[in-house]
């Protein structure tokens, strides 16, 4: 029982641990040995950290399909978007939409099948609605990001049958601060600048003997990105011509116009932390203003007759989100039900799509979500949770791109997780049942009014994970077999979409007749460590009898005339029509990494890695926008205050792009980062770092991106930065 109980670690700074997930916390070297050899005597700080069996514990104790990114590894990967930040993680790809939008694709699944979670609750932005809507977080603020590739729907619900990304930003203080603490980071580079400051401390004087106290936290952040530099042409004219039968008249070279962005935000949180538990509240705001690359998302533009145009290129997305979060954790006197935790969040999200100074479309979403979890040790379980979750969501889109009607969605779920341990065996079980109701407003499709029905779904999910730890001489490892049967209710756009969706350059038509989607997954994981060698591999196979997908209808919506046409006459006005339908689908793939501690004392480690996923409908059609096969080599090293990484990634061509999609070419990408950090005399830590991405300036067209033919990934990018923890 590695983390079921409260642990106490003496730290020299408040936030711990900072290790990458591949370095078990329990194996952390003494803190005195982590620095540059200096020995600094600090006041002992007791940190209470509550382990969560579904993330921390499983990730590090077994080879289940979960991984965590934190510490310097996270800092080195922080990018402008969540997808870009996670794209080097095995099994994770970045569904970019220009450089300012990047959504994580987990084992080929994204959108409504994945959830981005902030502090365990949904981000509740519009990122699942449309590929051009970003996740409303600043990755630089993340303290820990967990990628849940497996049955995350069991605990988090809301349709996360393909996985979830859980971001911990610590905005509700959960650790008692007895003194003012801060963290600041600035970075600048060829792509833009980022600055953030985070402060936390006690409210008033906190006597050492105090059993409880108030702790506050505040942060502000700002990011500004320039137009993205790219190594060649923005538009792959041959690909566009093959898809639309027209050649764009305008193209750009060297930069992606209208890809600048700026975002800012801040939060303030306050908690009362004591022996009996904690009660905390945080309010945050986040706003972003980013452009969409030309050709991607154009409402209309006068173009001389007969001249195919790419688009106006000045469309901006201006999004705002206000979030109020609350957390209550109560330690009970009952040994079998030790902790009750209630999370609640209310968000208001609005985004305007602005072109030429005019607001064309406004999306508005209001969500209230509450989850109550009761830790338990019932029925012989060593740990587990019983929980309930309710959510009330209102979504409305008005204006030109109002492709979904105003819709109310209400859901309620019950779930339970159980862990049974009998060394060397470990069994995790999960079950969830959810009920969802959607009530749409009035809608029209192609000018005709449609009566949309309300729908009710009761998806249920089950998961089982059996792990076997072994030791063979000096070698040790584990084998994990995970099986889950998870289900989700169709999301609002899948049910009720009916209009031009310029972001994805499609005319989306929902299907009110959809059934719930079921996914049956098998995952076999293996971790092994023998001397200087370590290995990790996962193989998986997903089958869905009723995979929801967008079938291309083969015709175009003419946005200027507002009608359907069989042929595309003007590129900037043509939106291929798609219809949400269901068909059996299968996905299978693997992730593997083999590491070798080349110079253990110097911390030099070499690893080769690979991942692949193949998805297809059972009729043989390929699922669209699947990541390419990747393999590569990573070298990491640490010497004194220096820490660095060099990573080469080879992505093969994606020749199975899906119906009416275009293939993408292979690429070879090199990334590197170098970090120097030191501790000042009074224990403050300062780090300087440099990050270079796409070192060889490759033209990378991302097969998971809707915009791959219009906006390649950024070219060579250099960032330098300073991080200080005081």
């Amino acid at each position: 029982m590695a983390f079921a109980a409260t642990i106490a670690i003496a730290c020299t700074w408040a936030a711990c641990p900072t290790q990458a997930q591949t370095q078990p916390v329990a194996a952390s070297p003494p803190l005195a040995e982590q620095g540059s050899g200096e020995t600094v005597v600090l006041p002992e700080v007791t940190v209470r950290a509550q382990a969560t069996p579904s993330s921390d514990t499983k990730a590090e104790a077994a080879a289940g399909p979960t991984s965590t990114l934190s510490g310097t590894a996270l800092r080195a990967r922080v990018d402008a978007t969540l997808g870009a930040t996670l794209q080097d993680q095995l099994g994770v790809a970045n569904a970019s939409f220009g450089p300012n939008v990047g959504l994580p694709v987990i084992r080929g699944q994204s959108g409504a099948r994945t959830r981005a979670l902030l502090g365990g609750m949904g981000t509740h932005d519009a990122s699942t609605l449309s590929a051009d809507h970003s996740v409303m977080i600043e990755p630089g603020l993340a303290e820990r990001i967990t990628v849940l590739r497996g049955p995350s729907a069991v605990r988090f619900g809301g349709g996360a049958i393909g996985g979830a990304v859980e971001i911990e930003d610590g905005r509700i203080p959960q650790q008692l601060a007895r003194q003012l603490q801060s963290r600041a980071e600035v970075r600048t580079g060829s792509d833009g600048h980022l600055g953030l400051v985070r402060l936390s401390g006690p409210l008033g004087e906190v006597p050492p003997e105090a059993a409880s106290a108030w702790t506050w936290r505040a942060d502000v952040h700002g990011r500004r990105q320039r137009d993205t530099r790219i190594p060649g042409d923005a538009i792959d004219e041959a690909a566009v011509a093959s898809q639309f039968g027209l050649v764009p008249a305008r193209n750009s070279h060297g930069t992606l116009p209208n890809t600048d962005s700026q975002s800012s935000g801040g939060a303030i949180g306050l908690s009362r932390i004591g022996e009996a538990g904690l009660v905390g509240l945080a309010a945050s705001t986040f706003q972003t203003d980013h452009g969409i690359p030309p050709g991607a998302h154009s409402h209309s533009e006068p173009v001389p007759a007969g001249v195919p145009a790419v688009g106006s290129g000045d469309l901006r997305i201006q999004a705002r989100q206000h979030r109020l979060s609350a957390l209550a954790r109560l330690h009970t006197p009952w040994a079998s039900l030790p902790t009750l935790e209630v999370n609640a969040v209310h968000t208001r999200y609005t985004h305007d799509e602005v072109e030429g100074g005019r607001v064309f479309t406004t999306f508005e979403q209001r969500v209230s979500e509450l989850r109550a979890e009761w830790s338990h040790r019932l029925m012989g379980a060593s740990s587990g949770k019983l929980g309930a979750q309710v959510q009330d969501r209102y979504l409305a889109a008005t204006g030109l791109e109002a492709f979904v009607p105003p819709t109310d969605l209400r859901s309620a779920g019950l779930f339970g997780t159980w862990r049974f341990e009998a060394a060397p065996w470990q069994l995790d079980l999960g079950a969830r049942v959810e009920h969802q109701q959607t009530h749409p407003g009035a809608a029209t499709l192609l000018g005709l009014p449609r009566e949309l029905p309300s729908r009710r779904f009761t998806p249920s999910s089950l998961s089982a994970e059996l792990a076997r730890h072994y030791e063979l001489g000096e070698a040790k490892g584990s084998l994990t077999l995970t099986h889950w049967r998870v289900a989700r209710a169709p999301d609002i756009p899948e049910l009720y979409a009916g209009g031009p969706h310029h972001a994805t350059r499609t005319f989306d038509i929902g299907n009110t007749g959809l059934d719930g989607e079921v996914l049956r997954g098998w995952d076999l994981g293996w971790t092994h460590q023998a001397g200087r060698l370590d290995a990790k591999a996962n193989a998986y196979r997903y089958r869905s009898p009723n995979h929801i997908y967008q079938r291309s209808l083969g015709w175009f919506y003419e946005s200027e005339e507002g009608n359907a046409q069989a042929a595309c006459a003007r590129l900037d006005h043509c939106l291929p029509a798609t219809k949400y339908e269901q068909a059996p689908a299968t996905l299978h793939g693997f992730e593997a990494e083999l590491g070798w501690q080349v110079l253990p004392k110097e911390g030099l480690r070499a690893a080769i890695f690979a991942d692949a996923v193949r998805g297809r409908l059972n009729d043989g059609a390929d699922l669209p926008r699947m990541p390419p096969r990747r393999w590569g080599l990573a070298l990491t090293g640490k010497q004194g205050a220096w820490q660095g990484e060099w990573r080469l990634t080879r992505a093969e061509a994606q020749r199975r792009p899906g119906e009416n999609e275009t293939p993408t070419a292979a690429y070879l990408r090199v990334d590197a980062n170098l970090r120097w950090q030191t501790r000042l005399q009074d224990g403050q830590r300062v780090a300087l770092f440099a990050i270079v991405r796409n070192l060889t300036d490759q033209t990378i067209r991302n097969s998971t991106s809707f915009l791959r033919n219009y906006a390649p990934e950024p070219g060579r990018t250099l960032q330098v930065g300073l991080e200080a923890r005081l």
Binding site: V433, T458, I509, A566
Partner: protein, 727 residues
């Protein structure tokens, strides 16, 4: 309750709910979307939202044709094509795929064609209605569109975009050689706009001939003989079958026939028309228009000239002649060689006579086109007819009349009401006739005739007039018939008997007899159905066969079966002379039947033109008026018969008929029928003033008035009346 127990309950609830998982089961998709194939074809720039725009053509435009849009629920929108065959009809409240039906004439040929417009194509695509869309529609529907519409069995579920696209591809493959010959490349046979200008797709339509037949069609290229036509069963796959490719000489002959022959033939018709402008010309003036070996409808050149071209009916028989006639709408239907082609055209006599189509071979002799005839033994036309008649009183009702009794038993007539009962005088009885269950006779349920036992003929007549009555209710029953019209003038002169065989008819066929000749003219225009009493000529001017009809009631399996009758059903007539030697044959195909089926047509149907005798302020048509004093005073027939034309669009009156029966008095053997015919049209609906001079010593015995109307298919709607009940 302990916390553990609560948890156990919660877990049990979770497990239970998981076991119940699912949804609301409402799997209806309210966001149906068009498929690509629905949007195939060029965008229609001239279309308007909510309006079905298209063109109906079959080598020539279907000008002035009736266009009907019919949806799955049977809702309709109707309109007419313009002079170029174009139409624009608002879709109104019609839902889903809509069948477009066009009923009209092209090149002198009556035809009904269909096409399909899907909901998303309305206002966006140009809808063709051609013989090729007829094939596409039939293939997609899996049946003959006209029949399915009539029967209300159109399954629009079959009209998915993909099904239509498949059907279009199959039909295109079928006619590809013809399309190639016409220079038509990639085309959507249903949605590509075209003009009826003889080029491109219109040229291709010139090169094919399509005729309905049974549960399918016969399709041939212009250079093929009818017997070589492809037989296409509606809805059945035809993998690999195509029309033949024309070789170079055939292609040249076809080009000549289509490019130059029609103009030359039109010039010949113009010359013929000029000859007939004001008066009938001489035989010799007409001979150059006919080939020496002319044989048409049983008539050689000179006979045809006399009987057809120089026909000149007396006024009381309508006064028909070709003086002032127009010949137009020339269309080439078959190319045998560059010098011999089968041509149809339209003959439009002066008003108010009904136009009709004509078709025969023309041969080019010395550079001049001459009529050569069709080589058949008679001119046969088959039509549907709906007759609005008197409804006979039912058997039970007749037998329920006060005093009605049938000697022996009710089923063993004849039945009667004895004198002294029911207001009848003594010395006679009211003859009710024999019910059908006892063998029956024609007047049972229709007429009750008083048989007086008075001593003098005059007294017996007066009692007959006073107490006979009509039991039937006039103008209340609709009966469907098939009319077999063998032209009394255009049939082999020596023929006396004709037997029609075809779908739905008794195995032995239907026998028709030549009408008697009066003053050198056939007494009726058409051969008539043989009655039991007929020998070698017909006595009744009627050539219609009702469903279930049987010429010989004793014969088994003689009943007609209309279930076997459909659009394009082919009928053959064989003519025999007095020695029963066959003189030849003729064929005709049935046009589309009127909707709905005959048994469900209401007596108030607007397609019937109607006699309005009840509104006449003179001469009510009653038995005692007809048989009584008003006629007795002068032995002449004076009556005013007001009538109204059909109210239904597309149906117009064509003729008024009178058959006045009279016999010598005191009764002797024999009866004569005085017949009058008035051709008419919409413009002449003024009351018909009938004035028939008396014949000394003859008295009225019966009278029948028929008002015949026709629709675009040539289907007849006949309102027949006889004297009504005097009471």
């Amino acid at each position: 309750m302990k916390a553990g127990a609560w948890c156990a309950v919660a877990m049990a609830s979770v497990a239970l709910l998981i076991g119940c998982g699912g949804g609301d089961g409402k799997g209806q998709d309210a966001l149906s979307a068009p498929d690509r194939s629905e949007l195939a074809g060029p965008v229609c720039t001239s279309c308007q939202p909510g309006v079905v725009t298209g063109l109906a053509a079959s080598g020539a435009p279907l000008a002035g044709a009736l266009v009907r849009l019919v949806d799955a629920n049977g809702q309709q929108v109707q309109g007419l094509t313009d002079a170029q065959g174009g139409f624009n009809l608002p879709i109104g409240g019609l839902q889903g795929p809509v069948i477009v039906q066009v009923i009209g004439e092209a090149g002198g040929q009556a035809m009904v064609l269909h096409s399909v417009v899907r909901g998303n194509e309305v206002g966006k695509r140009f809808i063709q209605v051609t013989p090729l869309t007829e094939l596409i529609t039939a293939r997609a529907l899996g049946g003959m569109p006209a029949d399915l519409l009539l029967q209300g069995r159109v399954n629009t579920q079959r009209l998915s975009a993909s099904a239509l696209a498949d059907a279009e591809r199959q039909v295109e493959a079928l006619v590809r050689p013809v399309l190639d010959l016409a220079g038509v490349g990639a085309v959507d046979l249903r949605l590509s706009p075209f003009s009826a200008d003889g080029t491109g797709l219109d040229r291709a339509l010139d090169l094919i001939a399509l005729s309905p037949q049974g549960q399918g069609h016969r399709l041939r290229a212009l250079w093929q003989a009818p017997e070589d036509a492809l037989s296409i069963v509606a809805g059945a796959a035809d993998p690999g079958r195509t029309l033949p490719t024309a070789n170079a000489s055939t292609a040249q002959a076809v080009a000549s026939a289509l490019d130059s022959a029609p103009a030359d033939i039109r010039a010949r018709f113009d010359a013929l028309q000029a000859l007939l402008t004001t008066a009938l010309p001489s035989d010799s003036a007409l001979e150059p228009f006919l080939s020496a070996d002319f044989l048409h409808a049983g008539l050689d050149r000179s006979t045809h000239i006399q009987r057809v071209l120089l026909r000149n009916d007396p006024a009381h028989r309508g006064g028909y002649s070709l003086v002032g006639a127009r010949f137009d709408q020339v269309r080439v239907l078959r190319v045998h060689s560059a010098d011999r082609i089968w041509v149809s055209w339209r003959v439009t006599p002066r008003a108010p006579f009904e136009a009709h189509d004509e078709a025969m071979w023309l041969s080019r002799e010395g550079g001049t086109w001459r009529l050569q005839g069709d080589g058949q033994a008679a001119r046969l036309r088959v039509r549907h007819a709906l007759s609005l008649l008197a409804r006979p009183m039912g058997e039970a009702e007749v037998l329920g009349l006060p005093g009605a009794a049938c000697p022996g038993s009710a089923s063993n007539g004849p039945c009667r009401i004895a004198g002294g009962q029911a207001g009848l005088p003594l010395g006679g009885h009211l003859d009710l006739g024999t019910p059908a269950s006892a063998g029956g006779d024609d007047h049972f349920g229709r007429l009750a005739l008083f048989r007086s036992q008075a001593s003098t003929a005059e007294e017996r007549l007066q009692a007959h007039i006073a107490h006979s009555r009509l039991l039937a209710t006039p103008s209340t029953a609709v009966q469907a018939h098939l009319l077999f019209e063998i032209d009394a003038r255009q049939s082999a002169p020596l023929a006396r008997r004709a037997v029609v065989t075809g779908p739905g008819l008794p195995t032995g066929g239907v026998t028709l007899l030549r009408p008697p000749t009066v003053a050198g003219l056939p007494e009726f225009d058409h051969w008539a159905l043989a009655q039991a009493s007929d020998t070698d000529t017909a006595s009744e001017d009627w050539h219609g066969v009702p469903d279930g009809w049987c010429a010989d009631r004793e014969a088994s399996a003689c009943a007609t079966d209309w279930a076997l009758v459909g659009l394009g059903s082919s009928y053959r007539v064989e003519l025999f002379d007095a020695q029963d030697q066959s003189l030849g044959q003729a064929q005709a195909a049935l046009p589309m039947r009127p909707a709905p089926a005959g048994s469900s047509v209401s007596a108030s149907d607007a397609r019937f033109g109607r006699w309005q005798m009840s509104s006449a302020n003179t001469s009510p048509l009653t038995l005692n008026w007809l048989l009584g004093s008003s006629v007795a005073s002068g032995d002449a027939l004076f009556m005013r018969a007001p009538w109204s034309p059909p109210a239904a669009p597309g149906v117009r009156p064509v003729r008024l008929d009178l058959a006045w029966h009279r016999a010598g008095f005191p009764p002797t053997f024999g009866e004569e029928v005085h017949r009058e015919v008035v051709p008419t049209s919409d413009a002449t609906s003024s009351p018909w003033d009938i004035n028939v001079p008396a014949r000394s010593g003859w008295r009225s015995t019966w009278l029948v008035l028929r008002l015949t109307s026709t629709d675009r298919h040539g289907n007849r709607y006949i309102h027949a009346i006889s004297p009504g009940n005097p009471h």
